[in-house]
Amino acid sequence: MAQDHDHDHDHDDHHHHDHGSELSEMQLRVRALETILTEKGYVDPAALDLIVEAYETKIGPHSGASVVAKAWADPAFKQALLADATAAIAKLGHVSRVGDHLVAVENTPEEHNIIVCTLCSCYPWEMLGLPPVWYKAAPYRSRAVNDPRGVLADFGVTLPEDTRIRVWDSTAETRFIVLPMRPAGTEGWSEERLAALVTRNSMIGTGLAKRPDEAA
């Protein structure tokens, strides 16, 4: 999506403190810790393999995108999702289990929602996968609550001046996911086609869903 790709800078030290020496140091350090915990019988390396594999291949924003697409296509589901996202998604069956309290918040022309965790890195990862580095980093966590339009500008997003902005700070075990606005020109589209327009950032509130002409 455009707002994800227009920051084509070098991979500098803002993202990766673990270049070079820290990388090898951490590889050795974590490997040593795994060895110790395995030898003590605390962990099973085969289970660790499966956990890593699930994060890399199974859990990701495609889950959230399918939920958003269904909400766009099915008004009854959308109503159920906004009333109780945990229950509505549990009924779908095909999406991974969600925690106790998942709350879906709807973007409208009048109000735009943004999700943040200023204290750590709380994120609806059952729906979106593991959070990106920027979500967990100081610039986003510090500025989302008092300069959301500046943060949106960093993502190449500009909202109308009179659109209200609501920021949800995830300070408890409640998790939030944004239901982005359905793009114009998608009337009659299947859920599958719609899902391809739903970006991860649009479900955090730092992006918008793709327009039909931006779809791959």
């Binding site: 099973d44 956990i51 075990e173």
Partner: protein
Amino acid sequence: MDGVHDMGGMHGFGKVEPEPNEPVFHAPWEGRCIALNRAMSFTGEWNIDMSRAAIEELPPAHYLTWSYYKKWAIRLENMLLERGLIEADELAAGRALRPGKPLKRTMTVDKIEAAFNRGKYGRPASAPARFKPGDRVRTKNIHPRTHTRLPRYARDKVGVIDAVRGCNVFPDTVAIGQGEHPQWLYTVLFDGRELWGENSDPTLTVSIDAWEPYLDPA
């Protein structure tokens, strides 16, 4: 604790820099690190709030400069050391020098689904909720040296109850081993100007989730 982890509203950290086509992990050790954390959490030797507190207690300079998963790795070492589940000479040697201690449970291949269950934090209520949607509340001006989930920017501020989220485990006590003490949890909504003053974006509102002990009627 009033630490550097409590970042809401701080200045000087610069622009948000999204990484195009970001991989799930930037190095294989990051995946092993999160898997080790998940597997050890499953043993029940600590709870999620204790593990959050253990990150917050890292030295501020390290918190700000270490990568996310480096913090997770060293936090895990620290929690294991504090509980005597490993010892420093073992970390130095890179291998176990003593047998493991008995654990309540360990994560085996048949149990990995549990690594992806966030757990349940709702609890039966022992008293009715004190507040209802629409009520005005003032957050308390508290500065505990231990773990809390009331961010500094939202202390001593007037907001409105937006939603009641049930009765939930109370982080401030469970993080320090003093029990779950379930409390009513609310989404509390603040006007941007209440938090940031007259120069705030007038279209901004911010909500936090706040447990009842954080709130007074206003």
